[in-house]
Amino acid sequence: MAVDLEERMLARVQRENFSIDEELERVRARSRRIGGIAMFLGTARDRSKGRDVSSMSFEHYEGMAQKKLQEIRDRALHDFDIIEALVLHRFGPIEIGENIVLIIVGAEHRADAFKACKWCIDELKQITPIWKMETTPEGEVWVEEHP
């Protein structure tokens, strides 16, 4: 199945930080019928399971990670009454406060946008092969979030 370049930008991993305004523009550019956009942005917290965290790093399974993000976008577009969706996760070292993951869902009406956005991030956390290493006072630890 051929996936064009713009579609590939709508479900991707990348090392660099991203601008929410720029990512939003990709979604909005797809239709003037969009009236409600729900977004989720995951950021790097300075505490995790009661420990201080000074920095973190994400490792991903190249290929499978992208495939899972694409699957999530495809299923969201199919299962919800929405117009466009974007799913983006960073990898590599990330400083406290920085962006980690972004979901953007555009729909005609807000209820659908919210439902799909929440589903995307829940699904992403469950099925995407990405691992997090936190640097804490006790050293580097590979951690799993509370689901």
Binding site: F58, E59, Y61, G63, M64, K67, L124, K125, Q126, I127, T128, P129, I130, W131, K132, M133, W142, V143, E144, E145, H146, P147
Partner: protein
């Protein structure tokens, strides 16, 4: 065959890198797990406890999935997000 390791797993094998080994006799995931359990007991234990899953060609595999020489194999510890595959049994990995 190459076996990709991720997250904490790389710290659990000598050389801290991906593994390379012959296709196991029996050619099924469970045969691979048995070989890994003999050579790398800490990794084997996580596999047997289903804390670590095996993927074949980027899909979660089952105990009985048949392996081919060209398959892309990976061992997947729990994902950062708190993967349901381990917690809610949503993916029927290893027949669990």
């Amino acid at each position: 065959m190459k076996i990709k390791l991720f997250g904490v797993l790389k710290t659990m094998v000598p050389g801290k890198q991906d593994l390379d080994m012959p296709l196991p006799e029996g050619r099924r995931v469970k045969d691979l797990v048995e070989v890994l359990n003999q050579k790398y007991p800490p990794v084997g234990e996580l596999l047997l406890k289903k804390k670590v899953l095996v993927s074949v060609n980027q899909e979660i595999a089952h105990w009985d999935t048949v392996l081919e020489d060209q398959d892309e194999i990976a061992l997947l510890p729990p994902f950062a997000g708190g993967s349901c595959v381990y917690k809610k049994g949503r993916i029927d990995a290893y027949g669990c």
